[in-house]
């Protein structure tokens, strides 16, 4: 039941955070093992989904710090993400894919905390209040991290595109 409801969410969170498919699968398994051992600590008055995402977030950030992920490279964007079926012109579709590739690789340059906040807000589309609960941080801190992450990614995008235009 828990696997059916949450595996996709946890796996995608792990994949977006780590950037490597095999590692994300292993991490998802570890998170679920941790979940089963921690279920006794769950407070039934709390939101289960937020509690589980907090557990996953803590695990991913701890592993990131322990194994120095920032030094690892991410999977090639098209390795697992298929090109989206664009209704727009093929040329515009290619431009969009190119932007996604730059952003996907740029995520690796964000610090673990900023990366997690951007993933939760902009990729998974969570509300600021939900993220504050998951991250156990004040709303203002979350907003400032999201702003910082977006700005960093936008600057990477700007730099790469401008360099490409110069060539």
């Amino acid at each position: 039941m828990i696997v059916n409801t949450y595996s996709k969410r946890i796996f995608n969170m792990a994949y977006q955070f780590t950037g490597t498919y095999e590692e994300a699968e292993d991490m998802t398994q570890d998170i679920f093992m941790k979940l089963y051992t921690s279920l006794t600590k769950y407070d039934f008055e709390k939101n289960f989904s937020a509690w589980l995402l907090t557990l996953a977030k803590n695990y991913l950030i701890d592993e990131y710090r322990r194994t120095k992920w920032e030094k690892k490279s991410r999977d090639n964007f098209n390795e697992h993400y298929l090109p989206s079926e664009a209704f727009e012109s093929p040329e515009y579709g290619i431009l969009k894919e190119e932007t996604k590739k730059i952003i996907w690789e740029g995520i690796n340059q964000l610090s673990s905390e900023v990366r997690m906040t951007v993933i939760l807000r902009d990729i998974q589309g969570k509300k600021y209040e939900e993220i504050a609960e998951i991250m156990s941080l004040p709303l203002g801190t979350i907003k400032s991290r999201v702003n910082r992450g977006r700005l960093q990614l936008a600057k990477i995008l700007k730099e790469k595109k401008e360099r490409k235009n110069e060539m």
Binding site: T28, Y36, S84, K96, V118, D122, N147, L157
Partner: protein, 170 residues
Amino acid sequence: MKCENIEELLSAYLEDDLSPEEKRTVEKHLKTCQSCNDLLSFIEETNKSLADFPQLEVSENLLDRLYSIPSRKKRLKLSFDFLLRPSLQPIFAAATILMIMISFYLFHPDRNTINKTINRQVHHGYSKIERLYAKAESFTDHLGAYKDKILVSLKNMKLLGGNEDQKVKT
């Protein structure tokens, strides 16, 4: 206001999350700064791109691994239950005492003295056993001699047709 300060407000500006005063400042700056206008459009593009990232399906292999977690944990727990049986408690107690004694012996500073004492005690015990064994042997010899004497006396009894006057050969 400098570009660096404006940059930090651009993301919130796109989400309409600025105070009216901040909003006015940003808009005023954007009218005159091309660089910040460019950055604003890149932030917008970044946001759209991130929101458009697809969610992957979980592979069958991972699902199998996830479904098997509770049963694997249960099996692991059973194997430990076996060790927790009350009938094994005396064995654990004996093993603990043995371990304490071994560690006492191994880590004692005067290990050589202990070795000598043990050797002396073993030799002492061994010689005691030898003496006991020798005593036991002489006792069986005595018993054998008595047995022979009794048999000869029985043979010589008149009642059984023997000659009582015949001397017993020893």
